[in-house]
Structure formats: C-alpha cells, structure tokens
C-alpha cells in the first residue's frame, strides 16, 4: 500500500464518499399505493380537525384505497388523492401537481354575498382612495367611513392605515368590508386591529399538533392584541363577512368577537382557522393541510366551520342596484 499510493488514494476516495450506506434508502416512487399510503399517513398524524369534523379517517382509507390499481395514470391517481383530501372539508387542504390543484370550495357553502360593481356604482363611486391595500371612501354624506380590504397582502403599515383612519377620524363609524377576502399574511390581522383597541386584549387561543394521535395537541397559546401607539379609531366598527371570508379573514372575524366595539355583519365566514403546513409525496406532488386549531375565549374550536356573524345579512341578487348588507351596516351605524 505504501509503495502504491495511487491505489490507496482510490480506495480511500471510494470508501469515504459513500453516504448511501449511512442514509435511508431512496423513496422516490410513482407507485400509486405508496403515494396513497404516504399521504394518508401524513394526514392521519398531522391534521388537526378529525374529531371536530367527526371524520372516520380509517374508513376513508378503505374507501379510497379500493379505487387504486397498479397501472392507473397520474391524472386518475390525482383524482383519487384529491377527492380523499376533500373528505376533510377544509379550504386549507390542497394537493398540487404540475397539471392540477385539488381544492375544497368553501364559497359554495353559502350564497354569493358581495358585488364590487354594486358598491362602486351606487355607494362610493369611482374616485375612491387606494391607500396601500385599503380602498377607502366616505358613505352617508361623510358620516361613515368605508374600507374595502380584499386580501391580507402583508402591506398594511402605519403610512397607509394611519392615513385612512386619520381621514375618517370625524365619522360616526367605519364599515370594514372583508367579504370575499380569502386571507393571506396573518400578521396584518394584529396590525390592523391594534388601531381599534386602547388596552391589551386577549382575542382567542391556538394550539398545534404535537403527536400522531388525533387529539395530540400542545397547550393553548394566547393571541393577545396590544394597542397601537399611534392613530387609533375607537368608535363603532362593523366588519362585513361572507363565506368567501377565509383563513386570515376568519381569524380577523374570530378576533372581532372579543372586541366590544366591533360587530360582525353578513354571512358566516368560510372557516379556515387552522394554519396549513406543506409537504411532498414520493412522486414529487406537494400538499398542505391544517395543523393547528383556533379556539374561542371559552375554548371552543367549532368556528373552524365558520365564524357566525353577530347580525346576519344577505345580498339580494334580484336587485343588484343595492347592497343589502352595506345598507344594514350604514343604517346600524347611523342609528
């Protein structure tokens, strides 16, 4: 060995680079059964709402596993896995491939309750302000401020929201419209609501899966809102919601339940009070599903099925010249 250093070098190189002997075997596979079992097991051990939604996940396995066959196409496998995930009845659950995305449509749980054209044609006109993510203008001859917030973009900050609230400082109330707001960046919730409280406020609780059993959860974490130290608005606020108010929108609606001066009006939200994760299957498809539960102040997780309004109100599609939800909000604030 000493006389032939080249042989030594090659032997050492070969022996020292074989991480394969240390690592688990490769799991890349397009096998339908392998991918089905993998996805089912990941959901079984991490999804957070089996008990609340009374889902028999073992029975779901039996029903959908029977639909598999060895030569099935990717499209067919996707349909089986996607439909299996839709048994969770959760808008935060998706299966994603390069040719399709599975989804559960929460909008279909109730009627369509919002039409932007009606708002612009008959309420605020077209010379409204666009202050960051907040479309805003006056209603009722300047007595009420209207803020349309269509998505939690993560761009709410002190420059745009302070401007809007300063503009509305002499109004009798504000209508904060989050109908058909599908959610987004959760931090916007607290940034926005901090402008509407004057003391630290406990909003709700949240807990996260910490074990494979369906009821393995962490201790409850408190979601506490601290008041913003700048411009605040402490008059009445009516928050408009509908079935399209989802995820961060539902979180905001849940938080509003704990705030005295905020009233929810419209339809029940679409839910989505579980934070989704993200993962990948052996065939490269990706997925996400909810891994947390949000609880009301009395410890109830049932608002995952939708945060109910304090005052129900619905859009009448027989007359698109009026927004009945907006009308009721204006009337409530003025009276």
């Amino acid at each position: 060995m000493m006389k032939n250093p080249l042989l030594l070098i090659f032997a050492l190189l070969f022996g020292s680079s074989c991480e394969r002997v240390l690592f688990k075997e490769d799991m890349e596979s397009s096998d339908p059964y392998l991918n089905f079992d993998y996805l089912w097991k990941e959901c079984d051990e991490h999804y957070s709402f089996f008990d609340l939604k009374d889902i028999d996940w073992d029975q779901v396995y039996d029903r959908y596993e029977a639909m598999l066959y060895p030569e099935m196409s990717d499209d067919s496998l996707f349909q089986v896995l996607g439909q299996m995930l839709n048994e969770l009845r959760d808008g935060h659950v998706n299966l994603i491939s390069n040719f399709n995305v599975s989804f559960y449509d929460v909008n279909g749980l109730g009627q369509d309750n919002y039409n932007w054209r009606t708002v612009t044609d008959h309420y605020i006109g077209t010379d409204y302000y666009i202050s960051g993510p907040f479309v805003n203008d006056f209603l009722a001859d300047g007595a009420i401020g209207y803020i349309r917030y269509s998505s939690f973009t993560g761009t709410a900050d002190y420059t745009n929201l302070d401007f809007v609230l300063s503009r509305f400082r002499n109004t009798e109330g504000i209508i904060f419209d989050i109908r058909e707001n599908g959610g987004g960046v959760a931090s916007d919730i607290f940034w926005i609501l901090s402008h509407f409280v004057d003391r630290p406020t406990l909003l709700y609780y949240s807990r996260i899966k910490n074990g494979p059993a369906h009821d393995d959860f962490s201790e409850r974490d408190e979601a506490v809102l601290d008041p913003y130290q700048g411009i605040r608005y402490l008059q009445d606020v009516i928050v408009l919601t509908d079935r399209g108010t989802y995820s961060a929108g539902s979180f905001m609606a849940l938080a509003c339940k704990a705030l005295d001066r905020m009233t929810l009006m419209g339809d029940t939200t679409g839910g989505g009070l579980g934070m989704p994760n993200g993962g990948q299957l052996p065939n490269g498809w990706t997925y996400r599903f909810s891994i947390t539960q949000s609880l009301t102040l009395d410890g109830n997780p049932e608002y995952e099925n939708g945060v109910p309004p304090d005052v129900p109100a619905f859009f009448d599609w027989e007359n698109i010249n009026r927004d009945e939800v907006l009308d009721l909000a204006i009337e409530t604030l003025l009276n």
Binding site: S16, E19, L22, F23, S187, V224, M275, L281, I291
Partner: protein
C-alpha cells in the same frame, strides 16, 4: 389490502446510551494519544510554537450537496455547490491547528417524472481543530496524528413549493475525534529527464499528501419539533424558533479530507483537497440527512 406502514424511526433510549458510551470510550483512547503526541525535539515547546509556520487560508471549492428532510419530503434534493473558506492555520510536522469559516451554497432540486421542485441550500460553518503527531507511530516520511475538531454548522433552506414549510433551518454542534495520516512526497534532489530532444529539469519540491477522518463523538442539533411549522404568526408572537428542540448525543456525522499540499519557495502553499461530509440526525420522528462533496483549492499565505 393491509395498510403499508412507512416509518422513519431511527433512535431509541438504548441508542442514546450507546452513543454516550462510544463518546467516552473514544475520549479515553484519543486523549492519551493527544497528551503524548508531542514530537521529541531539542527545541522547547515555546520555541516550537514560535517557529511553527502560520498561514492565512483562503479557499474556493466546487462540488455538490444533497439533503433530505423527512419532516417535509421523502425525496433527496441534489445539486451543484460552491464553497468559500477563510481561516488561520498553524502547521508543522508536530501540530496542526486551525480555525476557519466555511460558507457553502448549493442549488438543489428534485425531478420525478414531470415534477420539479427546487431548494436553495446554504451551510455556514465555524470550525476549530487541533491534531498532534504521535511520535511512536511516525517517522520522517509518514506522520500519524490524532486530535479533535469542534464544528458549529447552520443550515438554511428555502423551498417555495412547500408553502408554509418552505423555510428550513438546522443548527448542528459537534465534537469530532480526528485522525490524520500524512505522507511526505517531496522531491528532495534535482532530477533531469531527457527523451530525444526533450529535456526537463525537475527541481526539489516540498509537498505532502494527507488524509484525515473526523468522526463525530458528540453530536447535537437544534431542529423543528413535531409539526415543523409553528403557530407564532397567528398568536401575534412572531418567532423563528418556536417549537424548535435541542437533541444531544443524537445523530451521526463524519467528515473526510484528502489533500495535496505544495509548499512554494516563498513559504506560501497551495492545497488541493477533496472534502466529504455526511450528517444524519437519526430522529425518531423526522430525520434529516445531508452530504457535501467539495473539491477545493486553498491558498495558504505564510505570515512569518
């Protein structure tokens, strides 16, 4: 059809105890070697230390990296990598000591049929090492040395396709036991070569070949807990490390380096090396595996 169970269980309390026992066994065998591994010399230790060549080490390497995070994906992400190093080395035939910082960036991805996904991979490491030649096992041409290496590595990964789990971060802290064999392959005399009209003179060159193995004796890591994501964003308490957990005496790490060093006439040196390292957490829930292969060229600037 019975349900197929896919499990990634690696470790048990028994394995933890075994790891600790192996750690202390290796310490007890390596430590005597370190204590006796001072080369017999007519100079005092202080003089030896003073005369020991000191280099500033700058290196650049290319290679590949691969990793698999079972918490988010069963697939191994692979791709090309570049690495930069900066450090300080004090080295002679008796002692080799260095402190260095390495930064590796890899663009990794997976490809399964028509599915593609990509993840950036950055590994930032701080190393400190000391190894001592064992005189009884060494001579003028061959030196066997033993010692230790302290390593702190932070890994950052971003994979947008994993949605709320797109960001991954791990921290590894390890104490390695190191073994190195070094062969002096210097050309000590001038040699000439002649073939027909081709004539070349090979002048004396100082160079050596070394192979070093670092075995993780005490491996610790800081990594995501069970659900990988955390709920800090929805409870108005943003925290990157919420739900992270420390694991001590867990996992396995190994590093090797095969290097060719050429000392120049001006006292500087060039080192070509092939470096390999592998890490696995052996978590009972979600394991993490990674390996790096780097071919590196380092310039050693003599500061004395």
């Amino acid at each position: 059809m019975e349900k197929v169970t896919i499990s990634c269980n690696f470790t048990t309390p028994t394995l933890h105890r075994m790891q600790k026992q192996i750690f202390w066994l290796l310490i007890l065998t390596v430590l005597p070697g370190m204590l006796s591994a001072q080369y017999d010399s007519t100079m005092s230790r202080k003089q030896l230390r003073k005369n020991r060549p000191t280099y500033v080490l700058t290196g650049l390497g290319v290679g590949s990296a691969n990793f698999r995070d079972f918490a988010t994906s069963p697939l191994t992400y692979r791709g090309p990598a570049v690495q930069a190093s900066l450090g300080r080395l004090k080295e002679d035939q008796q002692v080799s000591a260095y402190g260095a910082m390495n930064l590796l960036y890899a663009a990794t991805g997976i490809r399964v049929d028509n599915e593609r996904a990509y993840s950036t991979f950055v590994a930032w490491a701080f190393n400190y090492s000391r190894i001592y030649t064992i005189p009884s096992w060494s001579n003028e041409n061959w030196q066997l040395a033993t010692g230790g290496l302290l390593d702190l590595t932070t890994i950052l990964r971003v994979n947008p396709s994993l949605q709320n789990n797109s960001f991954g971060m791990e921290l590894f802290g390890s104490l390695f036991g190191s073994f190195q064999v070094r062969r002096d392959i210097s050309r000590k005399r001038t040699k000439t070569f002649q073939f027909l009209f081709i004539h070349h003179t090979f002048r004396p060159k100082q160079r050596y070949l070394s192979y070093r193995v670092n075995l993780g004796l005490m491996n610790n890591y800081f990594r995501n807990g069970y659900s990988y994501s955390n709920q800090s964003a929805v409870v108005n308490d943003p925290s990157v490390f919420e739900d992270y957990e420390w694991s001590n005496f867990a996992g396995f790490r190994v590093r090797t380096s095969l290097a060719y060093t050429r000392v120049l006439n001006n006292g500087n040196a060039i080192r070509w090396a092939y470096e390999w390292q592998a890490t696995t957490t052996s978590s009972s829930t979600h394991a993490f595996e990674m390996a790096q292969h780097v071919v590196k060229c380092s310039l050693l600037f003599n500061t004395k």
